[in-house]
């Protein structure tokens, strides 16, 4: 297979050594549309796994089931070996449309998860300020969301997810409402953040380039019904300059390979 370790065909996939999230036999039907059928997946600890697929493949539904926001019709989700069916403190969600409270400052938005947990004000604001700086928004602590650009708003969303210190970060197409230049910068920052934070990321995207650029592992979903069609582990060295990755031969080959696989679903 050269550049990529490639596993064909449907699940089950051999379990990685240490998986933090285990999805077993998840299915979901909306009315008479079968969104997901028999999904078995393992998400390795400390890695960034992307759920990639054309629209209608159920990738966001799967992410929301893992988050406990949507109920599955069948199957189980386990985090750290414990079955879950509702949101919990070991998971944090980053929303496609940011989902910030427009009436609250950046600090309060970032600290909101801690506020709901009853952390006292001084402590949670200190934590919030630390993560606001971490995502590159120092100086914007007292601004309101509408005073920020789309990219900055999503950084607030990311800081909020980081500040609750969850093991798993669930990101639902976080850059799709962000303009192109900001998206590139954001992706680079995410690679850096991943190395520093030692968290598990599950990332939903419809962009092949984005998935290959940032992921340790890409789960390709096929639509109607949503099923796992392929799992790809791009072997790209991300230690150096993030700019370099875009010209990396493995990167380009993997993008091409995935595109060939997905082509059949595009009308």
């Amino acid at each position: 297979m050269g550049a990529t370790a490639l596993r064909n065909g449907p699940s089950p996939v051999p379990a990685p050594i240490d998986s933090i999230v285990e999805v077993r036999g998840i299915s979901k039907t909306y009315g008479n549309v079968e969104a997901l059928r028999g999904i078995d997946l393992d998400f390795p600890r400390g890695k960034l796994t992307s759920l990639l697929g054309p629209s209608g493949c159920g990738k966001t539904t799967l992410l929301k089931i893992i988050a406990g926001l949507t109920r599955a019709d069948g199957g189980t989700v386990a985090i750290n070996g414990k079955r879950v069916s509702a949101p919990g403190p070991e998971r944090a969600f980053v929303f496609q449309d940011f989902a910030l409270m427009p009436w609250a400052t950046v600090t309060r938005n970032v600290a909101f998860g801690l506020e709901l947990r009853g952390t006292n004000k001084a402590e949670r604001e200190e934590t919030a300020h630390r993560y606001i700086a971490e995502v590159g928004l120092a100086g914007f602590e007292d601004k309101y969301p509408h005073e920020l650009s789309g990219g900055m708003r999503q950084r607030v969303g990311l800081a909020r997810a980081l500040s609750v210190d969850a093991d798993v970060l669930l990101l639902d197409e976080p850059f799709s409402a962000v303009d192109e230049q900001n998206r590139r910068k954001f992706q680079e920052d995410l690679i850096r953040l991943r190395t520093n934070q030692n968290k598990t990321f599950i990332f939903v995207t419809h962009s092949i380039e984005e998935a290959v650029y940032i992921s340790d592992r890409i789960v390709l979903l096929s639509p109607r019904p949503g099923r796992v069609s392929q799992i790809i582990e791009p072997e790209i060295d991300r230690s150096g300059d993030p700019e370099r990755i875009h010209r990396d031969r493995h990167y380009l080959d993997t993008v091409e390979e995935i595109w060939q696989g997905l082509k059949q679903y595009v009308e």
Binding site: L69, G113, L116
Partner: protein, 251 residues
């Protein structure tokens, strides 16, 4: 508005109508309409009389009580209807009927229920004001982006926290708009209630003035009432503008 290239201030049109009123009044065409200056003079005299002062206290108190009741009941009811489908199905029809029905017709019934006193007036204010508050609150809750609610859930919000920290705030612009419209309708309610009961507050004054053809005082009282309604609406609008500050940026 500009006239011959000059910018005319907003109040100018009001001034024009005051002048027209003054001229028509001085022509003595209809006894209903004394000159505007006479009305103003009557207003100055009126506010100094004990009967006006006590009527104002009575009216304001009934108005305030009716409004507080309709906000305290209307906002939670609107939130309930916005969130719970069964509540919406059960109550939606009635709220819509009452919000557009000619409520003045019901005030005499209130009189039978609550007697010839303050209770009837409070009930009238409540009846006039509450429906638009319910409807606007419901609309506001309906418009909240689902992801904001998912956000609260995913970060562990309890049910009470979801309501007090997210829903009420996210729907605040619509709630305030409902309260502003409710206040204006409430003024209507207090006047109609008092007119029908006729022995309380402004109703008694209106009754006295019109029965004795004291038109200057009659118009003075009317103007005071209009000014009050506009002032209250203006105050709420200020609060709304503050809320717009963030609401304008809602996704």
């Amino acid at each position: 508005m500009t006239l011959f290239g000059y910018r005319v201030p907003m109040m100018a049109s009001l001034l024009v109508w005051c002048v027209v009123w003054e001229i028509v009044g001085r022509l003595d065409l209809v006894f209903m309409l004394p000159p505007f200056s006479e009305v103003l003079a009557a207003a100055v005299d009126l506010v100094q009389t004990p009967s006006w002062q006590s009527a104002t206290v009575t009216t304001l108190r009934a108005f305030a009580m009716g409004m507080v009741l309709s906000i305290v009941i209307g906002v939670p009811l609107g939130i309930l209807m916005g969130r719970v489908k069964i509540a919406d199905d059960l109550l939606g029809m009635w709220v819509n009927i009452f919000s557009s029905a000619p409520l003045s017709a019901i005030v005499p019934v209130l009189m039978i229920l609550f007697g010839f006193g303050e209770k009837t007036i409070v009930a009238a204010v409540f009846l006039f004001a509450i429906w638009i508050i319910v409807l606007d609150t419901r609309a506001g809750v309906r418009h909240i982006s689902p992801s904001l609610i998912e956000m609260a859930r995913s970060y562990g919000a309890s049910r009470p926290a979801l309501y007090t920290k997210i829903l009420v705030w996210a729907a605040l612009p619509e709630i305030l708009a409902g309260i502003r419209l409710g206040l204006i309708r409430g003024v209507k309610g207090v006047v109609i209630g008092q007119l029908l009961v006729a022995i309380v507050g402004y109703g008694a004054l209106f009754e006295t003035f019109s029965r004795n053809f004291r038109m200057a005082e009659f118009w003075a009282l009317t103007i005071i009432l209009f000014a009050f309604a506009l002032l209250v609406a203006e105050l709420i609008e200020r609060a709304e503008a503050k809320v717009e500050y963030y609401a304008g940026a809602r996704q």
